[in-house]
């Protein structure tokens, strides 16, 4: 047994790992022959050795990660935030214009909202299919993912990708690979919020 979190040099490390490997093999052999309670005892011992095998490499891993992390190129956060704001804002502006046009042409407020959403989803799908939306997403990030057009993109891109595996097991089965989690947890949260609203009111 060695102390935790000690950075070993290479020879020591190899020595300990070989030692543990030998031990593991031996205990496994005993475990295979043992019966009942004794078997459980050996299984516990074996798992303890397995944990030690992982633990022993940990300090070395942490040491390496700390060297590696210094060389990771920084994310261009400020540029990304500005682009997300501009593109996201523009998509919303387009939505607002469409909404206004619908209301002006005589649709009720609720109907106009639904029609606007559908129209934006259509646009998102169209530009995904034409191959422009991923180019936009590369620049805009959350700005084009968060609006409803991003939702359309996630579904249509999956559909395009898996169309070649057929309409049942390809498109049908994989349509929501990206959007699935959003639907599942979005629905769940809406239920929770609804419950809270019901009781708090």
């Amino acid at each position: 047994m060695i102390a935790q979190n000690v950075l070993l040099n290479e020879q020591e490390m190899t020595k300990w790992l070989n030692e543990l490997q030998k031990e593991h093999q031996k205990v496994l052999f005993w475990e295979a022959q043992a019966k009942g309670e004794e078997r459980k005892k050996f299984a516990g011992l074996r798992q303890e050795i397995e944990r030690q095998q992982q633990r022993i490499a940990r300090p070395q891993q942490i040491d390496y990660q700390s060297t590696a992390i210094k060389l990771v190129p920084p994310q261009t956060v400020i540029k990304n935030v500005i682009m997300a704001f501009l593109v996201g804002g523009s998509i919303c502006l387009i939505g607002q214009i469409i909404y206004n046009l619908f209301t002006q042409s005589g649709l009720g407020l609720k109907d106009a909202a639904a029609a606007t959403s559908s129209f934006l989803v259509f646009l998102g799908a169209l530009f995904t299919a034409l191959g422009y939306y991923d180019e936009l997403g590369k620049v805009a990030g959350a700005g084009s993912i968060v609006p409803i057009t991003g939702f359309a993109n996630s579904i249509v891109s999956s559909a395009l990708e898996f169309k070649r595996e057929g309409y049942i097991y390809g498109v049908g089965a994989r349509l929501f690979t990206v959007a699935g989690p959003i639907l599942v947890y979005g629905t769940m949260v809406s239920i929770l919020v609804g419950l809270v609203y019901y009781f708090v009111r």
Binding site: L71, Q75, N80, T128, S144, S157
Partner: protein
């Protein structure tokens, strides 16, 4: 003691197998890269006239081995063995190419180190006297790799700065017992190294320690150092992994001047790939299109080619496993008459 093994992990090929023919086929984006002029065939689109990307990748691999055979005036039936691998599940491109070639076939999987692995195994087959002519291929395709390992290609997401771009390309070589070309003198088979990286979007920093370990063992086994090589080239560490490797080398007092990386060489910086290229095809096409030519022209005399592979699957990434990595090294020399 094994007769042709030196030290812990290095194989010696005293009969010097010869790389007599090679060919590379790449996609349009690689064709626009700095080595664009040198590839044998640049496809005009990523589908290569096929219905699916998987079929396109298989065709690319088939084209590359056919071109390599044609350059040498051989037919598939002249090969004793065909060794090939790619990145897809069940290495389908390799299997389907072998279906077409109708030669004895061994499928390889070493992720992006497959091409180097193939060279090592071809050397072993030739040195052992089991074959006279062996074909080796490896391929990768950006779209099939994205589909399998990441997200749909048309999804509008942002790739992190550490990400690398899978090369669309396939490379093949023919290694023979006799002939003219580049000789294969040594190979160092790598061990799996895992230093706890689990970020599948940052394979460079996961693979760098594996490349370093193989390199160190190679030097120890042969009693050589970096000055014995005109170039030491890693497979697809990319900008980040290459930077980390340089740091590791400096710590050990090895000068990193003669090091380069195929992932950096394959694209120009303005192609916006972030950290450079990756994939089986990456190291393969750079070796066959560029490095072998340089060896042949006498620009380099001896190079060390280290294929690096990250042996993850989408499943293990999701299960939170860290990424085991491997690197195989081969020594290539121009034959000094």
């Amino acid at each position: 003691m094994a007769q042709n093994k030196i030290g812990k992990q290095t194989l010696h090929f005293p009969s010097t197998p010869i790389i007599t023919s090679w060919a590379s086929v790449v996609g349009p984006m690689e064709g626009k890269g700095p080595l664009g002029e040198k590839y044998d065939l640049v496809l005009t689109d990523t589908l290569a006239g096929e219905k699916t990307w998987e079929k396109a990748e298989q065709k690319m691999m088939q084209f590359s081995i056919e071109l390599a055979l044609e350059k040498r005036n051989l037919l598939p039936k002249d090969l004793d063995f065909y060794l090939a691998g790619d990145l897809l599940n069940q290495i389908t491109c390799a299997n389907f190419t072998a279906r077409f070639l109708n030669t004895p076939f061994l499928g390889l999987y070493g992720a992006c180190s497959t091409f180097a692995e193939g060279l090592c195994m071809a050397g072993v087959l030739l040195e052992g006297g089991f074959a006279e002519k062996v074909g080796v291929s490896a391929s990768s395709h950006h779209d099939t790799a994205e589909k399998q390992f990441r997200t749909p290609t048309e999804l509008g997401d942002q790739r992190p700065m550490t990400a690398q771009w899978t090369v669309t390309g396939s490379a093949s070589i023919i290694i023979e017992k006799t002939g003219t070309g580049i000789i294969l003198t040594h190979a160092t088979i790598g061990k799996i190294i895992d230093l706890g990286n689990s970020n599948a979007q940052d394979l460079g920093s996961a693979m760098a320690p594996a490349a370093f370990d193989t390199l160190k063992t190679h030097f120890e086994d042969l009693g050589r150092n970096e000055n014995d090589y005109d170039l030491i080239v890693t497979g697809d560490l990319g900008l980040l992994g290459h930077g980390i490797l340089k740091e590791l080398l400096k710590e050990k007092g090895i000068s990193p001047d003669r090091f380069n990386d195929c992932g950096i060489m394959v694209y120009s910086p303005d192609q916006d790939t972030h950290c450079g290229g990756s994939g089986c095809g990456c190291s393969g096409v750079v070796l066959t299109a560029h490095l072998i030519e340089r060896l042949l022209s006498g620009y380099y005399h001896r190079i060390l080619f280290i294929g690096t592979g990250a042996l993850l699957s989408p499943l293990t990434s999701l299960q939170g496993e860290t990424i085991p990595c491997i690197a195989h090294a081969v020594v290539l020399e121009s034959r000094g008459e």
